[in-house]
Symmetry: C2
Subunit: 152 residues, 2 copies
């Protein structure tokens, strides 16, 4: 199995953790030297935090683990295309590569709603690989909202 598939499956496990606590199921992992060093799942409602996205939680954990704000040499695997805030955090942290699953036309900031990497004068441009396990990453969200609507 390709490595990026393996790590996206781990990100999907995180998304499922979000679903279990009735959060929109989005998850991610951060990988350095072949090891997962941080995990995160969406906890916006649980923590009542506007910054409680999977990526911010994982980036925060990874920087604590490495005791550095520079996450150079780290890759992030996230089930949904990051929003403006999370794409900005990825740039700020100097993450090397972003692998994401499903695109997000309603706020994805790596090409769908806007491409923040087109900003002038920013000092870091992570490589972006999209569409990794996109069916699974997309359907977990679709199913979540479908179930929500039916329960109403």
């Amino acid at each position: 199995m390709e490595k990026y598939i393996k790590y996206m499956k781990e990100a999907l496990k995180e998304a499922k953790k979000a679903e279990l606590i009735d959060e929109v199921p989005i998850g991610c992992v951060i990988v350095k030297d072949g090891k997962i060093i941080a995990r995160g799942h969406n906890q916006r409602e649980t923590n009542q935090s506007p910054i409680g996205h999977a990526e911010i939680i994982a980036i925060n954990k990874a920087s604590k683990k490495l005791n550095s704000w520079r996450l150079e040499g780290c890759d992030i695997y996230v089930t949904l295309e990051p929003c403006i805030m999370c794409s900005g955090a990825i740039i700020q942290s100097r993450i090397n590569k972003v692998y994401y699953g499903a695109s997000d036309p309603k706020g994805g900031a790596l090409g769908s709603s806007i491409n923040v990497l087109e900003a002038n004068n920013i000092n870091h441009h992570p490589e972006v690989i999209s569409g990794v396990l996109k069916e699974e990453c997309s359907s977990i969200i679709t199913s979540y909202f479908k179930a929500k609507r039916q329960s109403k």
Copy 2:
């Protein structure tokens, strides 16, 4: 004195706190119903955190104080034009108005390096007022870097 001048002066006080701990002097306050409910200053190096910007710290505090990820009815006053990450956090938190001091051609995301509010399909567009006490907000940063260079 105009209210927005008063609050920007408070944001400048926060920027000075950052300078005292040898951080790039950027500060902010969040105001609701005429009261400052949260303050933040840049602590990226101190906390070794890529998300340790003034705005993220203040937004986090404000949402804890209000016990809500929705900072509706809140305004943010920040000495420097917010970066992509912080502009995204402002959008996520539904902050009403953004008052900023100095523009940032090297990463300002509300018009200088990019304008993230031009993203398609985002569900919140804060009002932006720029140039509030821009000389003071700019010179505190310029002086900081000048002193840094001279001490080398």
